[in-house]
């Protein structure tokens, strides 16, 4: 556990040292703030004291930003050779993968914490469904974690950062749009499977204020699969055939 934290902390330092963290946070707050308060179907337009608009915007901005954060995690270390150095220290592949995963999740957590003033403001305007806000944030975190899992895997199979970004976005877009879109075109069992695979299904149900095990299992299994696959890619070097 300790080793995981050491690795996560170093990654987080890198995010903040390279301005990557600040740029992401500023952009994220800018986008979500703009659309929540000022532009399009914002809160005043809807005329309701709810953060639903914000959650929908964040749902999209995080989908784009997360691959930009995860793209370098492994691809860059592979390119520069530091991965070899790191893996010859007394750490195992799991600790490296989980540490890197946690660092990015923490950064997203910080970004979401900074949107709390939105919540406080809205709560002052009218009656907010506090439960729905809490589960909405939880939904954003879980969704982010799922895309970080996908992103870190994409980074592990990519030869450079740009490829890492594009692969993550490519895999992500299936969960984000394609499955949901296809689900509406198919009926029966296949349609239901596609419906279950769609991120939107689970995100909506959780932002409505319901924490269902079905949704939790969905998010956790994407995270799990992403991390297992990444570990698999890293440990491939040990294959002896």
């Amino acid at each position: 556990m300790n080793k995981i934290w050491i690795i996560a902390k170093r990654e987080l330092d890198t995010f903040f040292n390279s301005l990557m963290a600040y740029i992401t946070i500023v952009l994220f707050l800018g986008f979500s703030g703009l659309f929540t308060w000022l532009y399009g179907s914002d809160i005043f337009m809807v005329g309701e004291a709810s953060l639903e608009t914000f959650f929908q915007i964040a749902y999209w901005t995080l989908f784009i930003f997360i691959p930009a954060l995860t793209m370098r995690l492994i691809a860059e270390e592979k390119r520069s050779g530091t991965l070899e150095l790191l893996l010859t220290k007394p750490v195992n592949d799991w600790q490296v993968v989980v540490g890197k995963f946690l660092s990015t999740l923490l950064l997203i957590f910080i970004a979401l914490l900074l949107t709390l003033p939105y919540y406080i403001t809205v709560a002052n305007i009218g009656n907010v469904d506090h439960g729905a806000v809490i589960t909405g944030y939880l939904g954003l975190l879980l969704m982010s974690a799922a895309y970080i899992g996908i992103g870190i895997f994409a980074s592990s199979i990519a030869s450079n950062q740009i490829v890492g970004f594009l692969v993550a976005l490519f895999i992500g877009i299936f969960f984000h749009i394609v499955f949901g879109f296809l689900a509406s075109n198919f009926t029966g069992g296949f349609g239901e499977v596609l419906h279950y695979l769609s991120m939107q299904t689970h995100f909506e149900s959780i932002t409505r204020g319901v924490i269902d095990t079905k949704d939790l299992i969905y998010f956790l299994s994407i995270i799990f699969l992403g991390l297992v696959a990444t570990e698999g890619v890293l440990s491939k070097r040990h294959h002896t055939d």
Binding site: T14, S80, L85, P90, D241
Partner: protein
Amino acid sequence: MNIHVENYTKMFGPQTAVDNISFKVNTGEVLGFLGPNGAGKTTTMQTLTSFLSPTGGNIKVGQYSVLENPEEVTKHIGYLPENNPLYKEMGVIDYLFFVASIYGIPKEKRSERVREMVKTTGLEKEKHKKIGELSKGYQQRVGLAQALIHDPEVLILDEPTTGLDPNQIVEIRELIKKIGKEKTVILSSHILAEVEATCDRILIINDGKIVADGTAGELQKRAQNKEFLKVTIEGGDTNEIYQKLQEIDSVEMVDFAGKQDENAFEVQSKPDMTSKKKIFDMCVSQNWYLTELTPVETKLEDIFQELTMN
């Protein structure tokens, strides 16, 4: 801590990178690992540090095997990989603290260890910079500092002096020699002079196989069963001298050495024979005079080339 390499084989798909090699390195020994590019040096070092797993055989560092206890192995090894990869965006001190914590050095001892490493590797003046801002030589010192921070018993250095200027090379070599007194060191290099200057023993590998193993002196002796002389004779016609030299019965080969009008020759004798006296006698009988008669020692370069050129 001893290192035992037993029947180690490494394949990458159908390609054999290292083919069934065995050797032992004892505590306090500095082993020079020589070989042309692609001979399997780096692969062997990566397996020693348990980054890769052997396809066949086993490698043991002390009592720990890279197959069964890879994490124990890494705790006892300090490793400087080829091209010295570092987190360039990190500060020197931050980086050393990170490595110290990864090695599980207790919190209260970390700053002391980091300070010590900065001193030993001469990073005092540069310690507040980011690694990427340092010159290559100083980056190399950071690489050495991170490899030594947990006071490992085994040190593995993959081409530690590439890209350094001559002064830096001398300094790094001195450092390795100093460290090598109490640790087991394996060092790979293309630079033969470096291996000769720093290593107690030399291992030459080619095409994944060990082709020579011994001290620099032993390797020289082995390659030098033929006498090789540099001879300069004055007072006669060049071609005539050449002719007469070739007529000596113990001489196998004569070659011109040096510029055209200098009567300098390289004389190689037949195996286990000497031609010194006969050359001298020849000069006396012809009324020529010798200005040079020097035995030429086989250089490590020649041995290396002979063993690794197919």
